[in-house]
Every structure is written in structure tokens, then in C-alpha cells.
């Protein structure tokens, strides 16, 4: 058993290495500094998702009118007094609102990916496994979805349901989940289908069938675990897209309704004050960038770490 550099291993050492492919991937991931930094920020964002409101200095919608008036009815700047990042034009604390926005964005990201997996995975698996009509149908359907530009469709859906009860649920955020989810599951279905198709033809699947293992078991026990790597990467890399979509929608006025503080909405509200109070745009922009970058770097790192071509190599 030789690896690329020509080094040859003692049998026991070779066995030990094979046993920890995931360990291998983990070690490779750790070595990637960008991915680690991204991972840390992601963990931090998750923390904010659950504990944001507890950590926030003020309720996000509370207007500090007294301080606002004292400041000449203008937004209060950052790093000056009690408001670390200043306030907006309505006297609301920017930091607390950023934390609320973090909750919104992280929820969108997670829920969307959950929807994507719940719908995309079974459909993709079914298409790959049963082939024939199911597969054709999926492929045609996804072709149509591809023709429809994502943002366009999301906007369309949002506009349609804007005034319905769903549109109002969860301060308008539920509708955004659904819309983004509907558009995104297609990619996952295709990915799963692709992965399973290439694995389906392998001999160990033939063997399992010959023994009489049920279809469901083959799919869940044998095929899906092999496809797990690319799926994890796809989910991680799909999150920046979801966050971006939500922010863009909020900027356009669709989705989270005031007084909720989606980052996109904060940018939209703050743009008119850019001349004198740039902090209203800069801080949301920074945290958006951090969120997008952290998931992207983590996703890139995961992809490199889990790359099957690199398995077993240094």
C-alpha cells in the first residue's frame, strides 16, 4: 500500500489510518486557518441565535427618545456614550438591533437549509433510485426552476403572499423562509441524485441487493453516508445565499416587518443618513460581510477537507 510520495506503511499503521477517514478530514480542516476562523464566527453566530436577546443591552425596538432629543434629534454616533454602536434615527440601539437581525438571519439560514434537506433529499434519492418516470419528472421540473431566476421567484412569491395570514406570520419572516426554501431545494435534490446515481452502479450495491437488503436500507445505510460529504458542503455553502437573499428582500421592503431589525432593512433605513451618520449602514454591512464570509470559508474548508481525491493523502 503506497501513497503518493512512495512511502510504504507498516500494516498496523495502515489499518489505523483507514479507520479514521473522518478524523483525517477533521485534521485537514483544522489546518486550514481561514476555515477555522470562519468556523469560530459561525459558532458565535449560532450563540447569538439562541442567546442574542439575552445579551442585548436593550430591547431592539425600544426608542430612547430622551437621549435622541438631547442629541438634536439626530442619530447618536458610536463609541460615545451608553450606546456602543450608536442609535438610529428613531433612537433605537444599533447593537441590539444587530443582534435581532442576527437572530433573523440565522433562523432563515437554518430553516431554509432544513427545508431544503427535508424536501430535496428524499426527492433526489427517489429520482436516483427508481429512475424512470420519477427521475424524468424531477429533471424536467428542475429545468423549469432553473429557468426562473431565484430572486425573481422569491420576490414573486413574497409579493403574492404579502397580505395573507402567512405573510404576516412571525413578523413577515416565515414567508421569506418558505419562498427561499422553495427555490433552493432543487439544487440539493440534483446533488443527491447525482451522488447516488454514481454510487448506485457500484458492485457493493449489487451485492447488497442480491442478499436481499431492502431498498430503503440500501439507500440510508450505504448510499447516503457516502454522499454525506458533498451534502454537508452544499448546506454550508448554501447558507450565505439564503442570508443574502433575506437581506436583499429586506432591503426591498419584503419580509421582516418593522420594528424587527433585519440587517437589510437597517441598511435601507440608514442609507439616507450616510453623509452624517455612516455608522447606520457600516455596522450592518460589516456584520453581513462577517456572516457571509464565515460560512463561505467554512464551506470551502469543508469541501477541501472532505474531497475524496485527497483521502489518504497528506
Amino acid at each position: 500500500m503506497a501513497n503518493r510520495t512512495g512511502a510504504l506503511e507498516q500494516p498496523a499503521a495502515a489499518r489505523a489510518r483507514a479507520a479514521s477517514l473522518w478524523g483525517d478530514a477533521w485534521r485537514r480542516l483544522i489546518r486550514n486557518r481561514l476555515a477555522v476562523v470562519g468556523g469560530v464566527i459561525v459558532v458565535f453566530l449560532f450563540f447569538l441565535l439562541f442567546f442574542g436577546p439575552l445579551v442585548a443591552p436593550y430591547p431592539y425596538q425600544e426608542q430612547h427618545l430622551v437621549e435622541l432629543v438631547e442629541n438634536g434629534n439626530r442619530p447618536i454616533g458610536p463609541f460615545q456614550g451608553q450606546f456602543l454602536f450608536g442609535t438610529d434615527d428613531l433612537g433605537r440601539d444599533v447593537l441590539s438591533r444587530l443582534l435581532d437581525g442576527a437572530q433573523i438571519s440565522m433562523t432563515v439560514a437554518l430553516v431554509v437549509q432544513a427545508v431544503v434537506l427535508l424536501i430535496g433529499l428524499p426527492i433526489g434519492a427517489a429520482a436516483a433510485w427508481y429512475g424512470g418516470r420519477v427521475d424524468s419528472f424531477l429533471m424536467r421540473f428542475t429545468d423549469v426552476m432553473y429557468a426562473f431566476p431565484d430572486l425573481l421567484f422569491i420576490i414573486l412569491l413574497s409579493v403574492t403572499f404579502r397580505d395573507t395570514p402567512i405573510g404576516g406570520a412571525l413578523d413577515g419572516v416565515l414567508m421569506v423562509f418558505i419562498a427561499i426554501g422553495i427555490v433552493s431545494w432543487v439544487g440539493m435534490a440534483r446533488l443527491v441524485r447525482g451522488q447516488l446515481l454514481s454510487l448506485k452502479e457500484t458492485e457493493f450495491v449489487e451485492a447488497a441487493r442480491a442478499i436481499g437488503v431492502s431498498d430503503f436500507r440500501i439507500i440510508t445505510r450505504h448510499l447516503l453516508p457516502n454522499a454525506l460529504g458533498p451534502m454537508i458542503v452544499a448546506v454550508t455553502l448554501g447558507i450565505p445565499g439564503a442570508i443574502l437573499a433575506e437581506a436583499t428582500l429586506a432591503y426591498l421592503g419584503i419580509g421582516a416587518q418593522p420594528p424587527r431589525a433585519s440587517w437589510g432593512k437597517m441598511v435601507a433605513d440608514g442609507q439616507q443618513y450616510l453623509r452624517g451618520d455612516p455608522h447606520l449602514v457600516i455596522f450592518p454591512a460589516i456584520i453581513i460581510a462577517l456572516a457571509l464570509l464565515s460560512f463561505t470559508f467554512l464551506g470551502d474548508g469543508l469541501r477541501d477537507a472532505l474531497d475524496p481525491k485527497l483521502k489518504g493523502k497528506q
Partner: protein, 371 residues
């Protein structure tokens, strides 16, 4: 050996017309530039490798892929480098043409003299002049070794145009000619075809045409038939043999298959764990091998006169880790004839019966314990 006229425009770049204005930086380079002007032989032997050591510096340690390897090659001779996977034969060939990936690999020691020129002293640019022009390489996997987006005619003509200074038409003619010589039917029409339009065996023939495009003095063939069907293997080997004979090209044939080596080579180097463990004329190696590893290799070949149902014979154990090779004989953990001395000291290559027949084994030395 000269470039004959019937293959297209004769002529090679002179010192003042080197391709791409390569600047001559070293003494060896100056020598090389003169040599490139013609194809006559300038030294006693085509290739003299002395104490070549190529190591790979990895995170886990330094891999001694090739350790203190020395051998010669005559003009027009076919030499076999035989051994199992990982023994260093490919790295040796890549070292000769200096294609070792430089991190992490490096030629740490040794001397390689090609046609009288010390290759290791050439600059990178100067070495480039040699590649393709005087040294051709055939790689193992024809499916991935050809550029999928360029027509094969172009890939063959490329080096002729660069190294021989041929015009587009002349180099294309030459390429078509070579394509025919390597056995591609309707060669001229197929010049514009792409690699995916050829089968594996045909692609390997294209590789051979590429390697021979500039009529090199040395052909390095790295397991040229391993990736092919058995029936095609024989054809490809025969092709290599007849072409090298016709153009008097020396060949270093790398293989793990002794049968192939027996049919093609004048001499054989048996390699193990980065070292040459036995060398000699092909008859000597096959009829009176003097190293237990060689015996193991020969013994493991299935024979036509086998008793049916008998088990295949293997060499027990696995090759050693090349990261920190010790001072003992590297084959000793697997050797049936091992003695205490073998576990402590490594034998040198010492002479046996037969011209140029050397083996690295205490036991088979005159006065040793193996008869």
C-alpha cells in the same frame, strides 16, 4: 545517429538559434547547446547515473524514494527497471529528466551524465532543451496523459516545431508520418482528431509518437502497458521494440512485470525499496539470479507447467517504510535466508558470475551461506 531527410526537413537549432532564446548560463549549458547542433555521440556511454538519491520532504518525515542508485546505459541499449510498486523506479526515471515535483521532492545527491553532459548542473531552462529533444517520456496512463482539448496531431508536432525549428507544415508532415509509423490507420486524416476519439491502445501509440517526435537518444517508458488490455500490451511492446531498433534509441523500460522485461530488455536492474538490488544481463538475471528478492519475483510468476490447483507463491510481508530506512539490508524482514548479519549491515552490490552481474546480498557472495 542523424536526423534523416525522409522524415522531413533536417536541421537542428545551432547555438545561435536556440528555441525561445534560452540563455546559456552554465558551462554544461554551453556544452549542451553545441551537442544539440547534431546527433552524434559524444561520450562512451549514453547515460551514467552515479549515487543518485532523490528524497521527498513531507510532513511525516523524509522519504528516501531513491537511495544511492548507480547504473549505466549504452547508446541503443534497452534496460529494464523492474520492481514492485513504490520501489523507486518511476522516481528514478523522473529524476533523470528532472521532472520531480520540487516541493516536496528533491534530488539531494548524485551525478547524472547524459551524452557527456552533467545534467544536474544545467539550469532549468537548459534542461528544458533536453526534454523532448533528446529524452522522450512515455507515461503510464494514456487516458489522462493526453490533453483532451488539443488535436493529437498538434500534440505530436509541438515538440518538433519547438526543438527542431520546423515550420508548421513540416512539423505536421512529420507528425502524420510518425502517426502512421506507430500504427494508427489513416494517419493523415486523423491528425485533427481529439484523444477521446481514440481507444486506450491507440492513445498509447500517440504517446509513443509524441515521445519519439524529435528522434531522441533516450526513451523512458514508465509502465507503458500496465493500463492496457493484455492483447494490446503485446502490440505496444512490439512497437516500442521495433521503433527503438529502427532509430537506435536507448530505452529504459520500467515495469513490475518480469515477463515483459524478459522479452524486451538487454539488461535488467532489479530495484527494491529505493535501491538497486541486482543488475545484469537479462539471461543472467533469469537463469541465475543471485538475490532472494529476485528469486521471489521469479518464483511468483505462474508457470504453464504448474500443478493445477496449486497456490500462487508470494513473497511474505510488505515493503518497508522509506521514511527512516535503517542500516540493515532492506529486504531482511522478508527474506527466507536471513542471517544475523543481514539485520545489522547492508550489503554492497558485489560481482557475481556473468558480465556486469552484480547483486546485493551477503548470502550469495562467494563464501556465503546460500548455494
Amino acid at each position: 545517429m542523424t536526423v534523416s531527410d525522409d522524415r522531413g526537413q533536417a536541421g537542428s537549432p545551432t547555438v545561435t538559434e536556440l528555441p525561445d532564446a534560452v540563455t546559456i548560463e552554465t558551462e554544461e549549458g554551453r556544452l549542451l547547446a553545441e551537442r544539440l547542433a547534431d546527433d552524434t555521440r559524444h561520450a562512451r556511454r549514453l547515460l551514467e547515473v552515479r549515487n543518485l538519491s532523490t528524497h521527498f520532504f513531507t510532513r511525516d518525515g523524509v522519504v528516501h524514494a531513491v537511495d544511492d542508485v548507480s547504473f549505466d546505459l549504452d547508446y541503443g541499449e534497452t534496460l529494464g527497471l523492474v520492481g514492485e510498486s513504490g520501489c523507486g523506479k518511476t522516481v528514478t526515471a523522473l529524476s533523470i529528466t528532472r521532472l520531480i515535483a520540487s516541493p516536496p521532492g528533491q534530488i539531494v545527491n548524485g551525478e547524472i551524465v547524459f551524452d557527456g553532459i552533467d545534467i544536474l548542473k544545467l539550469s532549468n531552462e537548459e534542461m528544458r532543451l533536453l526534454r523532448g529533444r533528446k529524452i522522450g517520456f512515455i507515461f503510464q496512463d494514456p487516458m489522462t496523459s493526453l490533453n483532451p482539448t488539443l488535436p493529437i496531431g498538434f500534440q505530436i508536432a509541438e515538440s518538433a516545431r519547438l526543438h527542431l525549428g520546423l515550420s508548421r507544415k513540416a512539423s505536421d508532415d512529420r507528425a502524420a508520418d510518425l502517426l502512421g509509423k506507430v500504427g494508427i490507420p489513416r494517419a493523415k486524416e486523423r491528425m485533427g482528431d481529439y484523444p477521446h476519439q481514440f481507444s486506450g491502445g491507440m492513445r498509447q501509440r500517440v504517446m509513443i509518437a509524441i515521445a519519439l517526435a524529435c528522434d531522441p537518444m533516450l526513451l523512458l517508458a514508465d509502465e507503458p502497458t500496465t493500463a492496457l488490455d493484455v492483447t494490446i500490451q503485446a502490440q505496444i511492446l512490439e512497437l516500442i521494440r521495433s521503433l527503438s531498433e529502427e532509430f537506435r534509441t536507448a530505452v529504459i523500460l520500467i515495469t513490475h512485470d518480469l515477463g515483459i522485461a524478459a522479452g524486451m530488455c538487454n539488461r535488467i536492474n532489479v530495484m527494491y525499496a529505493g535501491r538497486i538490488v541486482e543488475t545484469g544481463k537479462v539471461d543472467d538475471i533469469f537463469e541465475q539470479p543471485k538475490m532472494p528478492y529476485a528469486w521471489g519475483l521469479l518464483d511468483s510468476l505462474p508457470r504453464l507447467d504448474e500443478v493445477k490447483g496449486a497456490r500462487l507463491r508470494t513473497i511474505e510481508g510488505l515493503p518497508p517504510d522509506l521514511i527512516n530506512p535503517g542500516a540493515e539490508c532492506r529486504f531482511s524482514p522478508r527474506c527466507k535466508y536471513v542471517h544475523d548479519r543481514c539485520r545489522v549491515e547492508e550489503p554492497d552490490l558485489s560481482p557475481r558470475e556473468g558480465e556486469g552481474h552484480l547483486a546485493r546480498c551477503f548470502g550469495t557472495e562467494p563464501g556465503g551461506w546460500i548455494k
